[in-house]
Subunit: 335 residues, 2 copies
């Protein structure tokens, strides 16, 4: 319980003023010079609240670039706002650092965070810095707004709806395997660009905030895919009281994931259950599928139809020949 102390303008004050105040452009952040921030949703709108933390050695590697760590910390939260159809409004940061972290690391972290705060129009509104004897730990609470009553829930899927998923699935889980055992790239017959693609998808997710409006306009249910498509879709089905039947061959894969899959091994399970995708899985009435896909394309993201909602429970993935896939562990969990 050692307590470091400092002069009137403490070390913490200086750290915040130097690195984080430039990111606090929201008027309700008061330049980080008050105890709390103010968020005023537009009339008729609600605030969507989400928190997610990332921990060194668990969600990122201790030697990941600080800017990438910052971007991952913010983006895993932005991904949830996207899936719920909310427009980012701002975020609070808890930054918990061991003494070993350098000033350069903090500067790089703030730079990465600032770049994404600007890119996603989601300014820093406040925060807290603390010491730990453990690993770098970053907890972010992110806020979005949307017209009252329009949040896209997990629980709205209806029998007959189509199941769609954004982007490509499995890249980050394969990227993590590559990171843990780089020699596997040769075994998977990956070229340098494919290797880089998979590693990059693990290092920094690409949240689909461009899809938020299209989801609100079309989807009956949605969630972001963070713990694996199979397990997350099963959660959506449970919340909606339905089942989903998925054609595994239609799950969208990147060229790199396709090549790794062809090399054999049991990578289909890694792809469908490994997690860290930060894509969006949604259900949509058949009459709205084409319109959703057009809106997504206009927003620069592909949606792919992969299956259908049925009565029952669970998410069943089948091969083109109709064989049901079974997974040892359908969903990622730390516990």
């Amino acid at each position: 319980m050692a307590k470091a102390r400092a002069e009137i303008q403490s070390g913490e004050d200086r750290l915040i003023a130097r690195y984080f105040k430039p990111l606090a452009r929201h008027p309700g952040a008061f330049g980080l010079e008050d105890d709390a921030a103010i968020l005023s949703p537009p009339a008729g709108h609600e605030v969507v609240l989400k928190t997610d933390a990332i921990v060194g050695g668990m969600h990122f590697f201790p030697n990941d670039p600080a800017a990438a760590v910052a971007r991952k910390a913010l983006r895993v939260n932005l991904s949830d706002l996207a899936a719920k159809g909310a427009k980012p409004a701002g975020f609070l940061l808890s930054l918990i650092l061991p003494k070993s972290v350098s000033g350069k690391w903090i500067a790089d972290f703030a730079r990465g965070l600032g770049a994404d705060a600007e890119r996603y129009n989601c300014p820093l509104m406040g925060g807290d810095t603390d010491r730990t004897n453990g690993p770098v730990t970053i907890s972010i609470a992110a806020f979005g707004t949307l017209p009252a009553g329009t949040m896209v829930r997990r629980s709205g899927a209806k029998v007959g709806d189509r199941v769609v998923v954004s982007g490509t699935i499995g890249d980050a889980a394969l990227g993590l395997k590559l990171r843990q055992a780089p020699a596997i790239a040769k075994h998977w017959n990956l070229d340098a660009a494919m290797r880089k693609h998979l590693l990059g998808r693990y290092l920094v997710p690409e949240p689909r905030n461009a899809l938020a409006e299209a989801l609100r306009a079309h989807a009956s249910a949605a969630m972001d895919v963070s713990d694996g498509l199979a397990g997350d879709l099963a959660k959506l089905c449970r919340a909606s009281g339905v089942a989903a039947e998925i054609n595994a061959a239609r799950v969208p894969l990147s060229p790199a994931a396709r090549k790794a899959l062809l090399a054999g091994g049991k990578l289909i399970e890694t792809i469908l259950t490994g997690g860290d995708d930060y894509e969006i899985v949604a259900t949509v009435a058949p009459s709205k599928v084409l319109s959703l896909m057009a809106a997504a394309r206009a927003a620069g993201v592909a949606f792919c139809e992969i299956g259908v909602v049925r009565p029952g429970q669970g998410a069943q993935f089948r091969t083109p020949s109709g064989k049901a896939l079974s997974f040892a562990r359908p969903s990622f969990s730390h516990f």
Copy 2:
């Protein structure tokens, strides 16, 4: 980067359903069964946002009772909402646990958290559980509401205003010293009740949420005292562009703190700069002092007038004879 995995209803899902779902009584929490929560401030109101984390070995002792740790984690955030004049609306929890933490610890933590969520009418709205190789780490983001434009800022103090402080100052800092070196109680001539009082004030703060409305109605500026009265008041002065002159003899002390102070040593610095008070320091126009004190008394909390706002900068503490106190380290900082 070991990844534990589990069946469809993962260990994390079960942990949340068992211990935390019962705390999520806010309709916008959706029983913790969606990806995000919804907060709808009343018409004409704004949302006040605050985050603060506590870390094992830094803000609490590893052997502190889990229920007390939970209450501290929530209360340090509630204290900021109180100082800003906001009514608690709900909170998000990031709970980051090493593997060594038992199911009983988590159950006790949830019980303590639930008791305070109910006591302060501040329900759990969502959260995130993660593993760490480091200490127990809890980050909470708390939300309050208030009529638009009425947040009590740090920056509103005016020359001539009186400086007031709630409750008693220094107890928690003395409690920490006692916790670190229990034999000191004898040296300070404390009886068992006094010892217990100081230890308790460090273990679990008493946020002054009962004062929120009185502050909005009367105070020109306010903040909660978490890093020591001397340093925090200096911050308020800096934000307001003024100075404060404080009669150190009028700073309210508990009988235990008074007795410890009489025993000698340099405890006045510990009392005025040690932090963890979670009291409120505010400035108020002279014409409103009596009305503020009456409102505070009606809310069950004492406010004490300790000084006056002057032109200049800094917070100056003087003895009754007029001697200025100087502190080696006026404000607590982890950095």
